[in-house]
């Protein structure tokens, strides 16, 4: 029995000793690098956002300046998604809404849609997708410039029928051989714009903007309710 106790204590102490040394090393490193890591993580998270609204274009802490979006089920992006808001001084530069397109070729396509207060697209970025490499993945900025063509479009300057790929009589290019993916992205972006228009009251309120001015402008822009694009 003595050997048993001996064996147990020897092993326990031996391993414990290693634990102290190794644990200490790790903990120390962690303590030293903690802040920088947090900073880097935040920066990485923001990278896509900053691509849509560059840091030069705003000066608020956009990452932490968020508003929650009401009735956002149509956007398919989480339970209570929130939009990021960019401001220059006290001016509102725009806000960025996360959207998910569910009708891609395979799996969900996660998008960020940046919109100016006046309803114009600041930019669209894909943050995650499972589309086929070589076909559907050209929605990625790394692979082609396709997503940039959304810049500047709005419900006002692009009628609802045009919110489709060229093949279906729309405004936007498709890729050769892969129409499903672009169509899904276009549809999602359009849906976002429509959502914003429909909820502009709440959004403006949470942004702290006066209701009337924008309201009027937007209403005129999308005076006629256009039918859903044909898919």
């Amino acid at each position: 029995m003595a050997t048993m106790a001996q064996s147990i204590s020897r092993s326990a102490i031996g391993l414990g000793l290693f634990a102290v040394i190794t644990g200490g090393t790790i903990a120390l490193t962690q303590a030293v690098t903690k802040e920088r890591i947090a900073e880097q993580a935040a920066r990485a998270e923001a990278a896509a956002l900053f691509e849509i609204i560059p840091e030069s274009a705003h000066n608020n802490d956009m990452l932490n300046d968020t508003i929650s979006l009401p009735d956002a089920a149509v956007l398919n992006s989480g339970e209570t998604p929130s939009a990021w808001v960019a401001r220059q001084q006290s001016d509102l530069v725009g806000f960025i809404i996360p959207v998910t397109a569910t009708d891609g070729y395979s799996g969900d396509i996660n998008l960020l849609v940046g919109i100016t207060p006046s309803g114009e697209l600041l930019g669209v970025r894909v943050t995650g997708h499972h589309e086929t490499p070589g076909l559907g993945d050209r929605i990625d900025t790394g692979k082609s410039d396709w997503v940039y063509q959304f810049n500047g479009h709005s419900l006002a300057n692009t009628p609802g029928k045009q919110w489709n790929v060229k093949k279906n009589g729309g405004e936007f290019d498709q890729f050769t051989g892969a129409t499903i993916t672009p169509r899904a992205v276009v549809k999602a972006v359009h849906k976002t714009l429509v959502y914003v228009r429909e909820h502009q009251a709440e959004i403006r309120q949470s942004l702290g903007l006066p209701l009337d001015r924008g309201n009027r402008k937007q209403r005129s822009a999308v005076a006629s309710h256009l039918p859903e694009p044909e898919h």
């Binding site: 070589g134 050769t176 898919h231």
Partner: protein, 350 residues
Amino acid sequence: MALVQQSSPHAHRARPTARVMLWVIIAAVPGLLAQTVFFGWGNLINVVWCIALALATEAAILKWRSKPVGFFLKDNTAAVTGLLLGLSLPQFAPWWVSAVAVFSAIVVAKQLYGGLGSNPFNPAMVGYALVLISFPLAMTTNWAAPVGLWQDAPGFGETLSTIASGQQTAVDGWTMATPLDEYKHKVGSHTAAEITVHPTFGSFVARGWEWVNAAFLAGGLVLLALRIISWHIPVGFLGGLVAMSLLFGTNADQYAPLSLHLLAGGTMLGAFFIATDPVSAATSHQGKLIYAVGIGALVYLIRSWGNYPDAVAFSVLLMNFAVPFIDYYTPPRTYGHHKARRGLPTRKQG
């Protein structure tokens, strides 16, 4: 004169491998003709190009491996591999796509394993799957529309120059989504009636495709009659497909109908010419059935839920992968034994 010395038997039935392979080629001719009639010259050009390339590649690599070149070329197996690739690639696939497919079929899938008889995977299907994932654009957009639907029908010369130009995609009016592709992407969001208005479906099942499949079926029956293939694989393949289809219901609004599964895509080519590749298929009758039913079921599974509209190549490869294992557990019962000896020999213990 010295007397010949050799082990018995001294008599042999004269149907050498080369002739078996020749029969496979002959049996594929009806299918090729049907393809040419319904989809233009593309397949014929591909077949010729692939066979030529297959023979050349095989010769080169045999030379590199210091093997007798003529001896192995004469067995016609490289030609069969080339033929089957030519039959299954899209009609307007650019020449280099076929070249990559043939090269990987002959070099990687066949010769790296020791050549004829040793390849665990079906060479033609390795070539096909490899180019499918490598060049999805060229492999999905170059399917010819059935002859009647062409705008400005391309002649032989135009087809040839399209293929030879090396462009990833062919002229728009000549190509069209395949019926399986079309169905796959509309099912769920559209009803069956809505889907089948697409011209590719024609009046019966799948315009053109139905006749091509029928022709391959006929060729396959010839192989069956000649006892070059046994019934287990085609029956198992088609049976597996039918069983899955019945299992998941015949609601055409939800799943592609059985008729489409059977008469579109590479079903019959796969069942009679590809899954039956003796080298990479299972050995015993029981094993062949398991293997083939597996392919049929996987075809249905991938066509219905996977990314790929036609899944013969992947299904065949997946089951090829299982073949050695299947073989281990499905030896036939030998005369004089109660049960078959399954599994591994138990190691004698010291």
